[in-house]
Amino acid sequence: MAKVLMKGNEALSEAAIKAGCTAFFGYPITPQNEIPEYLSERMEQEGLVFVQAESEVAAINMVYGASAAGARVMTSSSSPGIALKQEGISYLAGARLPCFICSVTRAGPGLGGILPAQADYFQAVKGGGNGDYYTPVYAPNSVQEATDLVFRAFNVADEYRTPVQMIVDGMLGQMMEPVELNPPPRVKVDKELYATSGNSDKRKRNIVNSLNLSGLGLEQMNHERFRDYEKIKEKETLSEYDVPKDAEIVFCAYGVPSRIAKNAISLLKKEGISAGLIRPITLWPFPEKDFLKLPKTVKAVLVTELSMGQMIEDVRLALNGSIPAYHYGRVGGVVFEPDEIAEEAKRILKKGGKKK
């Protein structure tokens, strides 16, 4: 397929269809509306399922039902809507059901605003639903990468039987970029081993369930899930590591703000300051190992996020005190400029950073 110019939200929707998604359940909320709007047309054309649910709560439970039946299924929403889906995400994780959940994030808390923000790192990465669970979380920084990660997300969901989330900041959802949709081979799994597809004449009956009233039984279910989480950490962690050997400071940023960080790095280079970037592409699992291989020249890590400071907690855990980490954020839908975060980097370096 040749490159075409597409809006982020529409491109990732088309990628979902090309990934073999057969059912979409959603509810209107800005700034993700292009996804259900686009899919309401395309799913119909393809003879697939599109349902505009009565609420985000209902939509995620429809996803739960369709996934239980063995379908490749997705929902999309934005921050407050994802908050409403947390109950369902916890059930999906508990019942070991795959699905793809896309959040085109906006500013909060509460109703907040519809401008781009990254204040939902905690929501996606640290859960929000009840119980011990994680979901893989992808954070693309371009329309092309968003579509590539949609393909990957559906495969990872099926392979590990887990809900998978993608955080698309409002900017990426709304921007147009050239994109080429190249679906990779579909991972092979036998869903009849667990799916309640109404085929109990051909196999033993299947039950999809997160309930276990025996303490030891439920403990075992949790351990089984966490064994898969270890495999996901080992095999599915993605990042972009671009740190020169003489870097004095390293930015850590994800999504579109990582592109702003790249511009800031260019500005600093012109002034003779060597700076690098660690860009988590999976927010969970977090690319912890990248932080352990930083050169000794690095005096500080500057986490630039469109939040009051959320990812910085994982950066500090990864650094484990080896290098000081600083946060610079703008919130409410305000986006920092490259020179703004370059100035912050210089200020930190002037102040000292790591003591020699």
């Binding site: 059912a23 429809m62 239980a68 597809s197 109404g198 309930l211």
Partner: protein
């Protein structure tokens, strides 16, 4: 003399013994559903959706695929299943806390979309599993663990009438209220359940049977008294009968039919 089997446990039920309390109506309704699924020849292609409440373990009992849903969300889970496998039979089994309280939106909108799914709704006027708290269906004056002085209209309003409400939703197709307090009504309940599943098999749309059912433990009375309570206290407020037939309002719900 050769022996002849004249009554046997339905193949629609698993061997697992019910966990329900003595005198509870769930076991009766489970049996009726299982018999109907076998009689209609659809057991193997049926998927049950169990709620949160006393019947949370219903998936253990119906001898077909089963999904356990979050509290109140069973109709949404059911339509997800049905959309993924439209040629299968999908039903949710829900109590009054699940359906008439936390799940009202999912219930109304399943009817509103005309989902081709079936709901078996157990109205026993109380939250059973959590220990006998007041439900939206609890009668005025009825004492529960959260209405110790009896439900008052002033604080809690009048009990909700679910089939009456859903009858007003234009896309609902078949709605009936029955009871399992005696043999005659158990037989009528089975006929209603059969008609509801037939509605789905025929692809006609949303069907629901609301079943008045005793909860002697939750009500704090003996099983036989509980049967009397259904007849004497519940039935006058919750009249039995067909509220919507073939998509049309019946006389019971203000229609012509």
């Amino acid at each position: 003399m050769a022996t002849k089997v004249i009554y046997d446990k339905s193949k629609g039920l698993d061997e697992k013994p019910f966990h329900y309390c003595p005198g509870c109506g769930h076991g009766i309704v489970h049996k009726l559903i299982a018999e109907v699924l076998v009689e209609l020849g659809v057991l193997d292609k049926t998927i049950s959706v169990s709620p949160v409440g006393c019947s949370v373990l219903a998936y253990d009992y119906f001898n077909c695929d089963g999904v356990q849903a979050a509290h109140g969300r069973a109709p949404a889970v059911a339509i997800g299943l049905k959309k993924a496998c439209p040629d299968k039979i999908v039903f949710s089994y829900q109590g009054d806390g699940d359906l008439a309280s936390i799940g009202t939106a999912e219930t109304v909108h399943a009817a509103h979309r005309g989902d081709n799914t079936t709901i078996i709704f157990i109205n026993n006027a109380i939250y059973g599993m959590t220990g006998g708290q007041m439900a939206p269906t609890t009668l005025i004056g009825q004492k529960t663990s959260t209405s110790p002085f009896g439900r008052s209209k002033k604080n809690c309003g009048l009990p909700i009438k679910v089939v009456e409400m859903l009858a007003q939703v234009p896309s609902s197709h078949y709605l009936e209220r029955t009871s399992v307090h005696d043999f005659a009504n158990i037989r009528k309940t089975k006929a209603a359940i059969k008609k509801a599943f037939q509605t789905q098999i025929d692809g006609k749309g949303f069907s629901m049977v609301e079943i008045l059912s005793p909860c002697p433990v939750g009500w704090g009375i003996a099983p036989i008294k509980a049967m009397d309570f259904v007849k004497e206290q519940m039935m006058p407020y919750y009249p039995l009968g067909v509220y919507k037939d073939n998509g049309e309002l019946t006389k019971l719900s203000g229609g012509e039919k």
